[in-house]
Amino acid sequence: MQQKAIDRNNAVIAIKDLKKSFGDLHVLRGVDLEVYQGENLVVLGRSGTGKSVLIKIISGLLYPDSGEVNVLGREVETLNSRDLMELRLKVGFSFQNSALYDSMTVRKNLEFPLVRNSRNLRRKEINVQVERVLEAVGLSQTIEQMPSELSGGQRKRIGIARTLILRPEIMLYDEPTAGLDPITCIEINNLINEVQEKYNTTSIIITHDLTCAKQTGDRIAMLLDGQFAIQGTFDEVFASPDERVQSFYNYNFTK
């Protein structure tokens, strides 16, 4: 992979001592993390370790019990609803199950965030932008189809296109390759890299798929027991003698 220019002095996401519990279940137990401008950070971890909770807190969908979450210079947990909406325009979120509006066509799905956030846009401009993002994800032919008519991989791509239409500075991917065949997984991984290059986004990719982590991640952070136990490049992380890291690696590549 070509070496990217990552500005290590410019942390667009900074998290300090983040804690989140659901009843007696302590999911995040003091998470510290910094994500830099132009970086693709992959968060690895087993199911139920709080990976999705972490990005939902970053996007303001969930509130932390304690700790600081700074996104693009703003403390997310202290923002009022108007400021949070403004911040969300800059933070794209690609859901695990795509979360496409199933009563709308692909065109309407893509138009929705645009029309609602730029009310003075003309029809022609909307069409141009919709076609632009559809082209970016390689699915121009699906524009009039309903989500139910799309394959799993296509739905993921349209989900990504819907977030791209607002030109976000940060992309949060929740399990982008879950439930897809290996070839489609590689296509989605390539798309994540293309999006980063073309739109110069900073991304957090939540996954437990090591192929996805290897292909897309500039840096890997492994979430174990509610904290980031280890961070580094793919090779650095999996060179760790930590038994939990090794068992995760061995399971992924021997299953």
């Binding site: 969300r88 979120f93 979360a99 509006y101 965030p113 609602r116 956030n117």
Partner: protein
């Protein structure tokens, strides 16, 4: 011997009751917060006019066939059931007055509200529940749209405005059904029938029916949206949301009917 009393793990009946009471009070508080949020957001721009009109179409226009049929049948059946009792006293000429009061004051609002609770309320519960389960509501939120305003406020406004319109329509259709029944037996003309109908109705009847229908409409929208918007995860939750939306709305409609009738009677 009751196996439950033997088991040290099984909760004591007192504890179960207290837990259920806790849960009930929590639900009431949660519903109160939901309604409060509606009133906080309904007057604050941006206003979702387009979505409100779309929902009015869904609630009003798409309910017309069902409402027409039930209203028409209600009018005919009520007239046919009332005629023998009045005939015993030779008072069948009072039929239009009796029917008009019964239909406008009670039958039209109740029948319409119950049909709408079943059709519209369950639809809202299921639709919003499904959106919640499939993270479509979260997707709306992260794309900088207020889902509460877009989905909930617009639906509650639509039902609040459309149910009174549907009630008026049902009353008219039911009265027309009643006229056909009266006409086939008593040979009453259309003009005479409706002149007797309007003579029997007072301003208070029309006002109380409109007010009652507005309350019913708000209840159907609020209950449907509340159960859908707060449905628990999973497809079972969607079914439960739709079911709860209907049951709770119907129950509240009857409670409201009793209360409003008492209040209106105090002014009569």
């Amino acid at each position: 011997m009751d196996p439950n009393t033997d088991n040290p793990e099984s909760p004591k009946p007192k504890y179960v009751v207290s837990k259920r009471l806790d849960s009930m009070f929590y639900s009431i508080y949660h519903a109160y917060q939901f309604i409060l949020r509606f009133f906080r957001e309904v007057f604050v721009p941006p206003y979702e006019f387009k979505e409100i009109i779309h929902q009015c179409y869904e609630v009003g226009y798409k309910s017309l066939p069902l409402i027409s049929l039930t209203g028409f049948i209600t009018g005919i059946v009520f007239t046919n059931q009332s005629r023998p009792s009045l005939a015993n006293f030779g008072a069948t000429s009072w039929l239009p007055s009796l029917i008009s009061i019964a239909i406008v004051r009670a039958l039209a609002p109740l029948v319409t509200a119950l049909i709408a609770a079943g059709k519209v309320g369950s639809n809202m519960g299921a639709e919003l529940g499904s959106m919640k389960v499939t993270e479509q509501i979260d997707a709306m939120e992260v794309s900088a749209t207020n889902p509460f305003k877009y989905l909930v406020v617009s639906r509650i406004i639509a039902t609040t405005f459309m149910i009174p319109v549907l009630v008026m329509y049902t009353a008219f259709v039911a009265l027309f059904g009643a006229f056909l029944s009266v006409h086939s037996n008593e040979q009453t003309s259309f003009a005479m029938f409706f002149s007797q109908v309007f003579d029997s109705l007072s301003f208070l009847d029309i006002f109380s029916t409109t007010f009652k229908s507005t309350v019913f409409g708000f209840t159907i929208g609020a209950v449907g949206c509340y159960h859908g918007y707060n449905s628990s995860k999973g497809t079972e939750g969607v079914g439960r949301a739709a079911n709860s939306a209907v049951v709770a709305a119907m129950f509240l409609i009857f409670v409201e009917e009793i209360i409003i009738v008492q209040i209106v009677n105090a002014f009569r």
